[in-house]
Amino acid sequence: MRLLIGLLLSFVVAAGIGLGSTWYALTQNLSFGALELGAWRGFPRNGTVAIDPYARAVIARNGELPVGSGDGVAFTAAADDDGRPLDGRCDVVVRGTTPPARYFTLTLYTPSGGLVANSLGRHGFTSQELLRDASGEFEITVSPRARPGNWLPTGGVDRYILMFRFYDTSLGIATRAGREAPMPAIRLTRTCQ
């Protein structure tokens, strides 16, 4: 009898701990080997056969297709440089330069990967569309209301993420954070709707 209760206790603990931690890992997007550049996080390994099992599980569950490493690298940001979550009711300024790549795109998504409806029908910028200053830097204002210059509308959603994708780039698994990979700064301003 004692043996049976003991076994049962073991199994309950195993199921609870095992499946609970799996669920946690999947919902928290727990992945290893991130390349962190400021507020941006990229997973160059996800586009190769060396993808880690956690990233594989998350990708299969979400139904995404990762960018292949011979194609490009993706970076996402869900918070500004000070760690404050990106809020679609506030003005966020993305300013700076990007690592070398033949083309890049910047896209605004809901946390689950959908596009956000807005009056302009604009969901991002390509490297060809951005207006730059004399030094080659660009400034994008991510805001619910129209702004001069590069305006990326948020549609007023409360949470969103920004995704940079660099195509045909030397960025990859061997890249170290620093001068070879400059990424734009993300700054949340006080202007909120």
């Binding site: 004692r2 003991g6 076994l7 206790l9 073991s10 199994f11 309950v12 603990v13 195993a14 199921a15 701990i17 095992g18 499946l19 931690s21 799996t22 890992a25 996800n46 586009g47 190769t48 056969v49 993808i51 099992p53 956690y54 594989r56 599980a57 990708i59 299969a60 569950r61 979400n62 139904g63 995404e64 297709l65 990762p66 960018v67 292949g68 490493s69 011979g70 194609d71 490009g72 083309y103 795109t105 896209t107 998504y109 689950s112 990967g113 959908g114 596009l115 956000v116 409806a117 969901h123 991002g124 390509t126 490297s127 060809q128 569309e129 549609g155 995704m163 994708r165 195509y167 045909d168």
Partner: protein, 180 residues
């Protein structure tokens, strides 16, 4: 008391195994992965253009709206495939995914050159079975080995601005993946 503690410790160890096992099994058990989502739209050994993502509907999450995308579900059971993807004005890439969505090979128009990306897709076994005397074909044709019998080929053509998207889609309409 000690006895119960031991049972709990055994449970924790078993829990660790359950965790690792479920993480490893998930890509094979996921019923709504990218391959499954595309299955209704994309033919076997043929390309289909994917609808551009909109705020209301997108066939896959995190699609890049600046790209026209065409996908082919391949099946190498009956033999190797010949792949031809015309190169668009700006940037074109082809990425190969296994049945369980691992990107195992990607190539872009610069690496491929010419006016189209052309290559042969086959399993390791099929490559070994190739006759040795065909050195000429081996030299000018790129061969990609698929680790799985089935999978996805995804061709992407870049539109630098929204008005160029229809041209990028038109380019991909001529993409082909068919048995040799």
């Amino acid at each position: 008391m000690i006895r119960w503690l031991l049972w709990i410790v055994a449970g924790l160890v078993l829990g660790g195994l359950v965790h690792l096992g479920s993480i490893m099994a998930l890509p094979h058990a996921a019923s709504r992965d990218a391959y499954a989502r595309l299955a209704s739209l994309v033919p076997v050994n043929g390309f289909a253009l994917l609808p551009a993502p909109t705020p209301e509907a997108a066939i896959l999450p995190f699609m890049d709206p600046a790209f026209a995308v065409a996908a082919c579900r391949y099946d190498l059971a009956k033999g190797p495939l010949k792949l031809t993807v015309p190169v668009s004005q700006a940037y074109t890439s082809v990425t190969f995914y296994t049945r369980h969505d691992v990107a195992y090979y990607a190539i872009n128009d610069r690496a491929a050159g010419k006016r189209s990306i052309e290559l042969d897709l086959m399993t390791t076994k099929q490559r070994e079975d190739l006759p040795d005397d065909e050195e000429v074909t081996a030299a000018d044709r790129l061969i990609v080995e698929s680790p799985t019998l089935t999978g996805l080929i995804v061709a992407r053509a870049f539109a630098a601005e929204p008005s160029l998207l229809s041209a990028a889609m038109a380019t991909l309409r001529a993409a082909q993946c068919k048995p040799q």
